[in-house]
């Protein structure tokens, strides 16, 4: 996947997680929602690792390079979301 596809995948997974989280807040005993939450957070962990590797740090705690790349990777308003 290219940078844009990796970003889109991460946005889709984070959207799925956000929906599961809000639903679980008001339905904390829903087994179905909890297993969906576990499924999408598992996919998200892999997607975020790949994103950090290819696109640069997602957060200021994800910088892995020899140089401080947090300041260089584009800000979300500078490129396609």
């Amino acid at each position: 996947m290219n940078k844009n596809e990796l970003l889109r995948e991460l946005q889709e997974l984070d959207f799925a997680i956000q929906e599961a989280v809000l639903f679980l807040d008001t339905h904390p005993r829903s087994e179905v929602a909890l297993s969906y939450y576990r499924y999408v957070t598992g996919l998200r962990r892999k997607a975020a690792e790949e994103y950090n590797r290819v696109c640069g740090p997602l957060t200021s705690r994800d910088s892995r390079g020899r140089r401080w790349d947090w300041v260089n990777s584009p800000w979300p308003w500078e490129r396609e979301g």
Partner: protein
């Protein structure tokens, strides 16, 4: 605390500047029913909320509202980007330009700066959740009003996404209000304030 993720919740990629539309859309950042008011409202209401499920909900929705502020600010930035002073004036946005150039300033469509007078944090779960339900509906109406004016699909798409979030949040706050009512004396919800009276 919060940790910033260097991405938007939903893609915003507006190629065609439109200062007139920027001046209208900014109302969902700093206007009376905008996203800044939403996040301020929910994140401040959390402290007096006596139910852990609803403390979580206010935290998670309040946090999502901050991501919506960023989307709206991005739309305003991209709609103003690359315009000359003359182009901005021709779009009837010179009043915004003289105060803020092409910067992003949280204000309403009427030019009123953002104020916490738009929100309430009453320290009563029924009152606060009723306020939150109304806030989500007011924001939905505002998005629909903007969508009727948005011709460009690159502007319309993010507005459509944000409008849908208002509906989901309304649903979740409604469930929270039901939860509070079931917990209280069903013959008189108002007998005492579970956030204050012991």
């Amino acid at each position: 605390m919060w940790i910033y993720e260097k991405k938007l919740q939903y893609p915003v990629n507006i190629q065609k500047p439109d200062p007139a539309m920027a001046k209208l859309i900014i109302t969902q950042l700093g206007g009376s029913d905008g996203e800044k008011g939403a996040s301020d409202r929910y994140l401040n209401q959390r402290y007096a909320m006596p139910y852990p499920e609803i403390r979580a909900l206010l935290t998670d929705i309040g946090t999502e509202e901050m991501a919506h502020e960023e989307m709206i600010a991005t739309m305003v930035y991209q709609l103003l980007k690359g315009c000359s002073a003359q182009q901005i004036k021709a779009a009837n946005a010179a009043d915004y330009y003289v105060d803020h150039t092409a910067g992003v300033y949280p204000q309403g469509a009427n030019g009123m700066p953002y104020t916490t007078a738009y929100i309430q944090s009453k320290g009563d779960p029924i009152t606060d959740l009723s306020e939150d339900l109304a806030a989500e509906q007011k924001a939905r109406t505002t998005y629909e009003n903007l969508m009727r004016l948005a011709k460009d699909p690159e502007v319309y798409g993010p507005l459509l996404f944000l409008r849908q979030r208002e509906i989901v949040h309304f649903q979740r706050f409604g469930e929270a209000l039901d939860f509070v009512r079931k917990d209280l004396d069903c013959r008189n919800f108002y007998r005492y304030n579970p956030a204050f009276d012991r």
